[in-house]
Symmetry: C2
């Protein structure tokens, strides 16, 4: 097996679980939030910064200003690269280094775009209707019943905004990925099986 699998996913769709199961099956590393810890160590930027900017929208100048007034250079008298951009680029570098080490599964963080020049890549997007995501959002993330819908819309908006800002692609648009799957159609395990088949077919070409 010599494919790098990236997984973009709707909140609660099971993308993370699918990624973890694929990594286990193929015996390859799985990177999710862990990626940020590595990026923090490598860049020397405080890990808390990575957490606070992780997959959050950064599309407006105003937002950037509110989150990080120093980006305007008020500390040094010079205009500097905003902190969110620095953090993003550090994560980008880490993704590239990890991919150079061999096959792995990377969830979120625009990994598909960071690695776009590689041809050993399989870019996947996982989504599902709210009825399917409901229990996962409630049980795994502890979101109360009445807030599940609005919270999941908000989370997906953040992910879309982050992705659309930092890439030249559109989050959740079929054209951005090799394969998009509704995880409710085949279930989590069925979706894992389908991706295994896709890897097999891609490597047989």
């Amino acid at each position: 097996m010599n494919t790098i699998i990236t997984i973009g996913r709707q909140y609660g769709s099971g993308g993370k679980e699918i990624g973890r199961k694929l990594a286990e099956y193929f015996g390859i590393p799985f990177y999710d939030k862990k990626l940020l810890t590595i990026a923090a160590k490598e860049s020397g930027i405080c890990e808390k910064m990575f957490e606070s900017y992780d997959e959050k929208p950064t599309s407006s100048f105003l937002y950037s200003l509110v989150m990080d007034p120093y980006s305007l250079g008020y500390n040094s008298g010079n205009f500097e690269m905003p902190l969110n951009q620095k953090v993003f680029l550090a994560a980008f570098d880490t993704i590239k280094k990890l991919a150079d080490q061999g096959p792995c599964v990377i969830v979120g963080r625009c990994a598909d775009y960071a690695l776009k020049d590689r041809d050993d890549l399989l870019n996947i997007f996982i989504q599902a209707p709210i009825e399917f995501k409901h229990n996962r959002i409630h049980d795994e993330y502890g979101i109360p019943e009445e807030k599940i819908k609005s919270h999941s819309i908000q989370m997906d908006k953040q992910r879309a905004s982050y992705y659309n800002y930092y890439t030249s692609r559109k989050w959740g648009d079929a054209r951005s990925y090799d394969l998009c799957i509704d995880s409710s159609t085949l279930g989590i395990d069925g979706t894992v099986e389908l991706i295994k088949k896709a890897v097999e077919l891609k490597e047989a070409r």
Copy 2:
């Protein structure tokens, strides 16, 4: 095999060929433009009308007026349903009747939406980068080299406009389908194999 497969597709992506190969493999009917002939016969509306409105944009009142002034009731003194809507609804009815007859493959014409209340449905979208679509558009559709890019953009715009107008979904958005595949990733035959696997996994649930 008891699944109805619908295929939405970018122009030149090979969606039609993939659909035909799946229908051959499963030994089930394949409906593409043929569907319009059946709809014309069943509705009594002239077949030429179906061809002229087939997957064409109809999103503006003005367009409808230019194409069909009688939709404003100038013939009868009454406001009638525009002809494009009548034609669409007739095709819709035909799709439903064909699906009631058993498993089949239907390409385009919003079949996924027409059949949305069925659970024996697998909705697929096929797309690919322009480099992959290039030869097909040139050889199969006879589009001259210098017009391939603009013509394919135009065709996809028409299909998107038709789909977005008549359904509550978005053409080419992962959330509208069970499965979206970049046909350049696995090739036409690899994509056919992956869809066979998806049908098998869906029916095993």
